[in-house]
């Protein structure tokens, strides 16, 4: 697989009075064109910060280490106009709440053609034609009328489609979608998932899908990386990681979800709460919540080890992992 984006040992930290505070610690992954890469985790897992780092959108004061190569250029090193050009042309973003990422006072046409005119230098008429095409592509009924409308005139699902259309305007190769369906109703969500699936296949678009919803990941992602407290705990093909979860945290997450096929089974929650950056336990950060934890888990950070079924996981207790660890 030739990867479009290759992230190696990505680290994000804040310099505080009490020393560096680690937010994301050693995340690596590859994404190929036409693939959906899913990044899963709960609050404070670092999944959103990981992608903000790739986009150069971290808040001031956050520091980064490692590399993120997009076609031989390091996204982490790009600054200013160069980063803006990458963000505008090659990497697009879709966020959770289209009501807050769309400008409420500007028409859809203005917001959709701004990119086309600035980044691609299109004239007004050409940009208008392309905007109609884009809205048609994301299945907005009556695109001409929609272009004259304002965000509040559309439903949540339609606004998310418009946001995706804006993201696609400059034909990016990578789309970063952060909880793109979380604010939507389930029947509307299904429509957006189908849309993303089609776009990914038709346009050979690579997608980073960030979500806490493992159902959404299962539906869309080709590969999944599960993060906990800033580190990757398990990653690999979706069928393996979601279908036969192996890390105690991934398994715990799946067991705590309502299962559509087994209603009589009680929900099995994970004890305790997710650990935020300020309160990360030493060793494997999951150990205080883990049913299988053993003394070594409390001291040493387990390395991410590749297993022969194609997945990687970081758990010293798993017998296979234990036998493979250096």
């Amino acid at each position: 697989m030739t990867s479009l984006l290759s992230v190696r040992d990505l680290r994000v930290w804040l310099d505080t009075a009490r020393g560096p505070l680690s937010i994301v610690d050693g995340v690596s992954f590859d994404i190929a064109a036409g693939q959906v890469f899913g990044l899963a985790g709960e609050s404070g897992s670092g999944k959103t910060i990981t992608t903000l780092a790739l986009l150069g959108l971290l808040p001031a004061g956050a520091r980064t280490g490692g590399s993120a190569m997009l076609d031989g250029r390091d996204l982490l090193a790009a600054r200013g106009a160069r980063m803006r050009r990458i963000r505008g042309r090659e990497v697009a973003m879709v966020f959770q709440d289209p009501m807050s990422s769309l400008h409420p006072m500007l028409t859809i046409e203005r917001q959709l053609t701004e990119h086309l005119r600035h980044q691609l230098g299109m004239g007004r008429r050409e940009a208008h034609g392309r905007a109609v095409e884009l809205l048609t592509e994301v299945r907005i009924p009556d695109p001409e009328a929609a272009l004259r409308g304002y965000p509040h005139q559309f439903s949540g699902g339609m606004r998310q489609r418009i946001q995706i259309a804006i993201g696609l305007a400059c034909e990016p190769r990578l789309l970063v979608a952060d909880e793109p369906t979380t604010a939507l109703d389930v029947t509307v969500q299904a429509g957006i998932l189908r849309l993303l699936h089609r776009l990914c296949r038709e346009k050979d678009l690579a997608v980073i899908l960030i979500t806490h919803d493992l159902g959404v990941l299962s539906a869309l992602a080709d590969t999944v990386t599960v993060m906990y407290a800033g580190r990757v705990v398990e990653s690999g093909p979706t069928a393996q990681v979601m279908g036969r979860a192996r890390h105690p945290y991934t398994r715990g997450l799946i067991d705590s979800l309502p299962h559509p096929e087994a209603a009589d089974r009680a929900l099995v929650p994970i004890a305790g709460d997710p650990a935020g950056p300020e309160s990360r336990p030493p060793g494997c950060a999951f150990h205080p919540r883990c049913r299988f934890s053993e003394p070594p888990c409390r001291t040493a950070v387990p390395p991410l080890v590749r297993i022969d079924d194609g997945r990687e996981m970081a758990c010293p207790v798993d017998p296979l992992v234990a036998s493979l660890a250096p």
Binding site: E42, S43, S155, G156, G157, M158, D185, V186, T187, V188, Q189, A190, G191, L193, R194, H197, H212, D213, L214, G215, V216, L217, S218, A219, L220, T238, A239, Q240, V241, M242, G243, R244, G252, L253, I254, S256, L257, P258, P260, E261, A263, A266, L267, V268, P269, I270, A271, D273, P274, R289
Partner: protein, 328 residues
């Protein structure tokens, strides 16, 4: 008589230009002691308005709300009537429903001060009992909300409701602001409380999957009306209303199978101008002529079910149903 009875409830808001918007357009529902009834539906279906009407937070334009055989009064400037204190509400967002500047213990004890149900000397012990009841250590009483996680805050919100010694708790999306691993903890807590304390619960949620694990019965709302109610297991095994079927089919499964969920065509209509006949007909894959012209009533079926759909025309004389009890 059920503990909480909603009969043909209508809730009407007004747009700034005066247009009436019927958010709830004639919904009926019952909840018994110890029973958890899930009320599911999507944005704008009126489930939160119905929940608010159930506890008197919004006035009903028509219909009745009865709790322990007495009508529920709309909350005004006066103190809530003592009998109605046994009807409690828990909100969605525990970051907003709890006062950030007061300790957890003081907030849980509010109900004792208001209800004058307990001598002050026993407050502390009772607060600790309630914290234990919702799975929190007694030491939490001295903490402030910012020191707690989302799941702990939602437990505090539930403890506050329990402090009033309720017979019935209405919960408006109590799980949706929580992480998945924590959501299951609180969901299980609700099941335990209903069983152990014989509290009735009306659980409002957009998440049909979690409701399936928690609720004994489930009611599905669409555009202001209840379209189907059934014992939860039956609703999932054989959903009768096409909208219920669409909701279930749209849920993505976390099984790694890469199965794309089914989408529902169209958009939810403006409640101020609902479609004629069955309100779901413009989006329904099984629409017939009759659906456009005639409003289907919520009609009782076998097995404690009820459905409002012309596909399932009543076998005999159509009895308009409130909501029947599931067979014990």
């Amino acid at each position: 008589m059920s503990l909480l009875e909603l009969r043909n409830v209508e809730v009407v808001y007004r747009r700034p230009d005066g247009t009436p918007v019927p958010a709830v357009a004639g919904a009926s529902l019952d909840v018994d002691a110890g029973e958890i009834v899930g009320l599911v539906g999507e944005t704008g279906c009126g489930k939160s308005s119905l929940a608010r009407a159930a506890v008197g937070l919004v006035p009903v334009a028509a219909g009745t709300v009865t709790f322990e055989d007495r009508p529920v009064h709309v909350l005004g400037r006066r103190a809530r009537r003592p009998g109605e204190r046994r009807l409690q509400l828990v909100f969605q967002n525990p970051y907003e429903s709890i006062n950030p500047r007061r300790t957890v213990g003081a907030q849980v004890a509010d109900a004792f001060a208001i209800g004058r149900t307990l001598p002050r000397s026993s407050w502390r012990r009772r607060v600790e009992e309630l914290l234990d009841r919702v799975g929190l250590p007694a030491s939490m009483a001295g903490r402030f909300p910012h020191q707690l996680s989302g799941g702990q805050r939602q437990r505090i919100a539930i403890a506050r409701a329990l402090a009033a010694d309720p017979a019935m708790i209405v919960l408006d999306e109590p799980l949706s602001a929580l992480d998945a691993s924590v959501q299951a903890q609180v969901a299980n807590l609700l099941v335990d409380l209903a069983r152990d304390l014989q509290v009735g619960m009306l659980l409002i949620s957009h998440d049909l999957a979690i409701v399936r694990h928690v609720a004994h019965r489930t009611a599905v709302m669409y555009l202001g009306v209840v379209v189907e109610t059934a014992p939860t297991a039956q609703l999932w095994q054989a959903p009768m209303h096409p909208y219920t079927q669409a909701l279930i089919n749209a849920i993505p499964h976390a099984d790694g199978a890469g199965h794309l969920p089914a989408a529902l065509t169209g958009e939810i209509p403006d409640p101020a101008r609902p479609p004629s006949g069955c309100r779901f007909h413009p989006r329904c894959p099984h629409v017939m002529d009759r659906c456009v012209a005639e409003v289907p009533e919520l009609v009782a079926r076998e097995g404690g079910r009820a459905v409002a759909c012309w596909l399932h025309e009543a076998p005999a004389a159509g009895r308009p149903a409130g909501v029947q009890q599931a067979a014990p």
